[in-house]
Amino acid sequence: MPRATSDAKLLIQSLGKAYAATPTNLKIIDLYVVFAVATALIQVVYMGIVGSFPFNSFLSGVLSCIGTAVLAVCLRIQVNKDNKEFKDLPPERAFADFVLCNLVLHLVIMNFLG
């Protein structure tokens, strides 16, 4: 038992240390992702308490949050300097793709909101 806790402590420490090394712009994106997921969670909790009556509103709300989170993760993957696969993709291009994707997503959501 003490070994496990020490392991966990070590793990968390090393995680925190490793994460502190990430560049600031990635941290901002991470914050955005966390925010989106938290909003989605709040909506789910609200749905659990109040009920899912206008189902398309609930669906579009939650999917909008998850969608933005997913797209932000994609953006994060693409602009990450450590990622070898996207060396030749300039961050401007990645951001433009991200904006386009978000545009499509939210157009659809506005349409679906009812």
Partner: protein, 677 residues
């Protein structure tokens, strides 16, 4: 494909050659498009099937992403002519499934493209094309199940990459939202089990992505614990998934001849294609293999899904053919260079093998294929195709050698023989396709022909009946028939029908099926409640037309009994046999369908001999009480009956009704009947 070549070879010449190759490639594609167009012109041009000419192109792109240009061109050429595809997209019978296959291939192309590039832009496009697919066909569930399976396969085999994440995660979110926009799908996109697979994989993918991310930060010790967790989740998913596939089987399985009819020689080429896909296994080629395997499975359950199999079969056999040509022509070239052994050829060859493709290789390939051309020239149909093949060979050769340094050298005679055999095989395929397009799929199903000793008989009864309907009935009269004839009646007789070939609404079809299998009085009441004026039945007993309503009758009973339980199939079967002769059950011999089909039939030959069933009918002399015959076509193939008006029967009720609301009803009747208005 072309980029590394230009960088290694002498700059100017190779660029020119690349440009030539590009132009040649485009030209070939154009030719294939023209071929795809013209082969569909065997039937009467009713609708423009322009969109179909793009299908070979997208198939080309899919294969190109998976294997390379030569294979892509081959696949496009094969797809242009594959019979099962033609069956749905000949100019005359052009329906939404044909559009859907275009959308299907396009979606797969974009998915593979996203997987290869990892660009969000293509992911968006992918979601949009998925939307197009959802709009056009219910078979979109194939996509939303196949792509998750592929993703899962990639994860399980340890091929996870961030490109996979980019290709899949936005597709799920956007695709679900877009699918929910389509009215018929609606909330089903998140409520039904077909779609759960994608969400489950979505979650798994996130877990895996997180794990990989943490793995990047951490030592690999904890990573193993997480991996076991993911694998258990994956396994439970797979076991959950199987009943979903099984539940799709709602239509009839195909027979072996239909496989051969529809994909022909491709069936033999597919295994070779699979093998060559596995040689260098990439994400894209594993996707193609997976696509084929699931498509084969689905087409095994349901004959309609043969359509889904066709593009996969084309891609794989295109790959196989081009690989085979590649190996054979290369060995021929090698043997030739050894044979002649003069300096220019040898130097050209060595340069070709060392760094890049050269003109010599294309020239030699052309030299090899030229003799074949003269040999196959007598056959007129294949020659067009062969010429195309030569072009493809000429292109596939410069692409490959730089990849494979170790040459698989075959003896000269064997390779020439192999090429010949392949060309003959291709020729057979072309002949079969042309035959299928011309004979099997272009025959109009509305005018039937039969060949006998004294020449060609034409049975034009359907058009006769529809013309009668359109000339002799009121515009707003409603016609009831089995759903097979719904669209035809709507289009050719211009009358409203109760059920048609759109089978979304099962209950409605069941109502008509119940009416057809009920006794006359009950059927009259059902039809009257539906405001039906005329009932149309198709009867083949006089001329021996097998797909008539009596043979379809058991389906009416089954579908009707599925919704209205008082219709029981065993009531219509004598000891499990379906028959309408003297052995038939009383329920069968008294149902509406029997009566409408065989009314006055005994007057034709005095015995009532049914030529389809091959025996005399059970009940020969009977009268109709609630229906009257208004029209029967020349060969008795279509019979039209009118419902007798109501006042002949429920007299007492009518009186009561009149005393209750006399003024209004007479008023209304008077207004309607007034001849001076």
């Amino acid at each position: 494909m072309a980029e590394p070549e230009s960088s290694t070879a002498a700059a100017g010449g190779s660029r020119l050659r690349n440009a030539c190759g590009g132009v040649l490639c485009a030209f070939t594609l154009l030719l294939i498009g023209v071929l795809a167009f013209s082969i569909r012109l065997f039937s009467v041009i009713k609708y423009e099937s322009v969109i179909h000419e793009f299908d070979p192109y997208f198939n080309f792109r899919v294969t190109q992403e998976a294997k390379g240009t030569g294979a892509g061109l081959m696949a496009a050429a094969i797809l242009a002519m594959v019979p099962s595809y033609i069956s749905r997209s000949v100019a005359g019978s052009y329906d939404n499934e044909a559009v859907a296959i275009f959308a299907l291939i396009f979606t797969f192309y974009l998915y593979v493209k996203t997987l290869n590039t990892g660009s969000l832009f293509y992911a968006t496009l992918n979601a949009l094309s998925y939307f197009y697919m959802v709009c056009s066909w219910g078979g979109y569930t194939f996509i939303i199940n196949l792509i998750p399976i592929h993703v899962l396969l990639c994860i399980v085999t340890g091929r996870y990459s961030s490109r996979l994440y980019i290709a899949y995660a936005p597709l799920v979110i956007l695709g679900t939202l877009l699918a929910a926009l389509v009215p018929v799908v609606g909330f089903n996109a998140v409520m039904t089990s077909e779609h759960f697979a994608s969400f489950l994989v979505f979650i798994i993918l996130h877990v895996v992505a997180l794990v990989y991310y943490i793995k990047g930060l951490l030592t690999p010790r904890l990573f193993k614990v997480a991996m076991t967790l993911v694998i258990t989740v994956g396994l439970t998913y797979a076991s959950k998934y199987i009943p979903i596939i099984a539940s799709v089987s709602e239509h009839q399985p195909p027979t072996w001849p239909s496989y051969f009819m529809d994909i022909n020689v491709l069936a033999f080429l597919i295994p070779a294609g699979i093998i060559s896909c596995f040689l260098p296994l990439s994400d894209a080629s594993s996707f193609v293999v997976l696509y084929l395997v699931t498509a084969v499975y689905f087409s095994g359950v349901m004959v309609r899904l043969m359509l889904v199999l066709a593009p996969a079969a084309c891609i794989l056999s295109g790959i196989a053919l081009s690989e085979a040509f590649d190996v054979l022509t290369r060995s021929v070239k090698y043997q030739l260079s050894k044979l002649f052994d003069d300096s220019p050829a040898a130097s050209g060859d060595s340069s070709a093998e060392s760094s890049s493709a050269s003109t010599v290789s294309t020239n030699s390939a052309k030299n090899e294929t030229r003799p074949e051309k003269t040999e196959t020239a007598p056959k007129e149909k294949p020659s067009k195709k062969n010429r195309k093949k030569e072009k493809e060979v000429a292109e596939s050769v410069p692409v490959k050698p730089k990849k494979e340094k170790k040459l698989l050298v075959l003896p000269m005679e064997a390779s020439v023989l192999g090429i010949l055999l392949l060309i003959v095989l291709g020729g057979f395929y072309v002949v079969h396709c042309v035959w299928a397009a011309a004979e099997a799929y272009s025959a109009p199903s509305i005018v039937l022909t039969s060949r006998s000793r004294d020449g060609l008989h034409v049975f034009d009864d359907f058009r006769e009946a529809y013309a009668w309907l359109s000339h002799n009935t009121d515009v707003d009269d409603k016609v009831a028939s089995w759903w097979d004839y719904g669209y035809q009646t709507t289009a050719m007789a211009n009358r409203t029908v109760i059920v048609d070939n759109n089978t979304w609404n099962n209950t409605h079809i069941a109502t008509v099926g119940t009416a057809m299998s009920s006794p006359e009085k009950a059927a009259w009441e059902i039809f009257n409640s539906l405001d039906v004026k005329y009932v149309l039945v198709v009867f083949g007993g006089l001329v021996g037309y097998p797909s008539d309503d009596i043979n379809k009758f058991l389906w009416m009973v089954r579908i009707g009994g599925g919704v209205f339980p008082h219709i029981k199939e065993p009531d219509y079967l004598r000891d499990g046999n379906y028959r309408v002769d003297a052995q038939g059950t009383p329920t069968m011999l008294n149902c509406l369908m029997y009566k409408l089909c065989y009314y006055r039939f005994v007057e034709t030959d005095g015995k009532g001999f049914d030529r389809v069933r091959g025996y005399e009918i059970g009940k020969k002399h009977f009268k109709l009480t609630h229906f009257e015959e208004v029209f029967t076509t020349h060969h008795w193939m279509v019979r039209i009956y009118k419902l007798k008006p109501q006042k002949n029967r429920v007299r007492g009720k009518l009186k009561k009704l009149k005393s209750g609301s006399k003024a209004s009803s007479t008023n209304a009747a008077g207004r309607k009947k007034n001849p001076w208005q």
